[in-house]
Amino acid sequence: MHDAPSAKELIEAVKAFIDKTAAPQLTGHAAFHARVASNALATVLRELEIRPQAEAAEKARLETLLGKTAETAGALNRDLCEAIRSGEVNLSTSGLLAHLKSTTIAQLSVDQPGYSGLKTATR
């Protein structure tokens, strides 16, 4: 498979079309949704850049925390949720809060990098 244009280039092109051509011609609700659409594409662009490495790091931390390996971070997260729900893992479990903080900082760096709570967490 080729990547000319790459997924990143295609999304950038669509985002530029929304921002520079479509949005200025819209009013009211449509203009609002155009801004939301543009922001959603910005989220996808950040995800393409940040997720592969962040998710690999998350998976490695989960394997340490749970003492087991799995195919995906998603499967390990399911196990972690079960362990929290059963009480086997809780707020005083060594490494839990640090892991969740690192994971959530990475997630927000994709989802809402301007959010005030992210600045509080990284201060």
Partner: protein
Amino acid sequence: MPLAAWAAAHFGAGARLEALKRLSGGASQETWAFDVLAADGPHPLILRRAPGGVAAARSSEAVSLATEAALLGATSASGVRVPAVLHVSPPGSAIGEAFIMRRVAGETLGRKILRDDEFAHARTTLTRDCGEALARIHAVPVAGLPDLPRSLGEDQIAKYEAIYRGFDMPRPVLELAFAWLKANAPAPAPPVLVHGDFRLGNLIVDPGGLGAVLDWELAHIGDPREDIAWLCVNSWRFGHSEKRVGGFGDVPELLDAYHAAGGAKIAPADIDWWEILGSLKWGVMCMIMYSAYKTGADPSVERAAIGRRVSENEIDLINLFEGLGRHA
């Protein structure tokens, strides 16, 4: 037109309607602004009306318009600043199920209230104003109120946990919040009238401070600490995280004003549990809004994108967990 007929009956023949404008298109409510020009001058008013004048199936928690109007009367009698209700229109009447209240001048947008010079003085009094208003709301005699839903902390945990589990989208931070809240639940306080959505956005602020408390749809009988902590949830600080009370104030000042106005004595550490519940609830509500996209009920990009705001509440929860020791 029924509204013009009401205006003539209420303000005298010759009273004219002007500038009728729809303000919001909520699924459960219509809100209209209008002016009545009467012999004694202009009267700025608001009409709150069921869509098409007929009550639709509302969210299980939202109170009826007639109840909302009754709450405005009861809270006003207890000294809470709320818009005066002029008319309650029953289902099946010409106007339809609705009520009419005075339109209070001022601003509701959180970002403007926290930023604009016009509100610089208001920001210095708003913390005390909110403490007093909350104490008066919580002191309203419950016996005289219409039937309201009863929802204490444990009811809310059960409700939101059932919704969260129904989505089958496990999120460890939310899971930890549910587990921690259950393991650390405080003894319930004596139940009082709780506003249910007391925060910037639902408060009219004028240059002098708090002008009126709006949006009583989520009022219920519950724990007074729920209202106090909801005002502190970081989502309602509109970027001004350093001020825990709504982006404008500090918790000790709020709690002092609350106690001075007759409210219970509450310690800042007591707010943590309720603020964690507040952030957790808002996180699950973002999942609910996203699920409207996922199920196809609302295919808008806005509903899809809101699913990427759950993580805002997750970082707020983590910051709260890290701060637990500091507030003790």
